[in-house]
């Protein structure tokens, strides 16, 4: 029954009406805020349960806190909504950004930046997307040479900060949010720093007459 009511609420407000109601004063605004809260309490569990199982004792509190913080940010950022999507989709985007950000920090809070660079992780490997294949005996020495060459290039080309962030994020798969929090930075700035570092490494390899594709082949032989 409640689901049906929420569904009706979503359909009865278009983007303009959401903005109008949330900018209003009094009962109109209160009703819009209440509806938004109900929608978030229904949607956020579906969006975030992959990262925090709904069976967790913290789940309900986490969803409630995330919903509350999302509403605060939505109100704060209301003027930045440009209508490129449905208003509720824009709200969900803010909600998952807040929720996943909190979960990442909580998961990695006991791990120092030094350990992140070394590759010690709190749970499982966070990223196996580019994991290398099992080496065969014939290619082991060749791989060793490539590994040493890449490590040397990193030391020579990157600033200490770039090296630190590259090791933690691009190599170990530590979330950008976590490294940013440790360094007093933000995700966007660190992505730009990593992009600059990647370009420097790529150009250096090109100057040496090497390409990442050729070097990668060593790890798939």
């Amino acid at each position: 029954m409640e689901y049906a009511i929420i569904s009706v609420m979503q359909n009865t407000r278009d983007n303009e009406t959401w903005l109008e109601d949330l900018r209003a004063e009094g009962a109109k605004k209160e009703a819009a805020l209440e509806d938004l809260h109900k929608i978030l309490m229904r949607i956020l569990p579906a969006a975030l349960s992959r990262w925090l199982p709904s069976s967790s004792s913290h789940f309900e509190t986490f969803i409630e806190d995330t919903a509350q913080e999302t509403i605060l940010r939505v109100i704060d950022k209301l003027d930045s909504f440009e209508g490129r999507s449905k208003f509720t989709t824009w709200v969900y985007k803010i909600g998952v950004n807040i929720g996943l950000g909190q979960l990442r920090l909580k998961k990695w809070k006991e791990t120092s930046l030094d350990k992140l660079e070394e590759g010690n992780e709190p749970d499982e490997m966070p990223s196996e997307r580019f994991a290398a294949d099992e080496p065969n005996p014939e290619s082991m020495l060749e791989r060793k040479n490539v590994i040493e060459m890449v490590q040397n290039v990193m030391k020579e080309e990157l600033t200490p900060r770039q090296h630190q962030v590259m090791m933690a994020v691009a190599v170990q798969g530590t979330p950008l949010d976590v490294v940013a929090e440790r360094l007093g930075s933000n995700r966007n700035a660190l992505y730009k720093l990593i992009h600059d570092a990647r370009l420097r490494l790529k150009r250096r390899l090109e100057r040496e007459g090497l390409s990442p594709t050729e070097l990668l082949a060593v790890f798939s032989e």
Binding site: A47, S127, A131, P135, L141, L199, T213
Partner: protein, 94 residues
Amino acid sequence: MIKRIINWLMPKKKKMEENAAMTANLLKMLEMTKEDEHSCADVYELLDQFAELKTRGANVEEMMPKVKHHLDMCKDCFEEYEALLAALEFEATS
């Protein structure tokens, strides 16, 4: 000869496998690196539009290739995209 080399390397095998995986990760990222890439902030601005188009069946990878590329490069943003898709799919089916 090869056997002797392998025996010499065995104690270091695990560490080398880790280094090999990390180096391969890095080289894969360098292979995918482009001069002009969207930042996380750029992608955040477009993510709701991108996800909505995706759920409507649009060829969003061709329509917004820089967003797609960034999602391939940035695990944090990719996870938020996945969570947003899950939200939209739940909304559509409930």
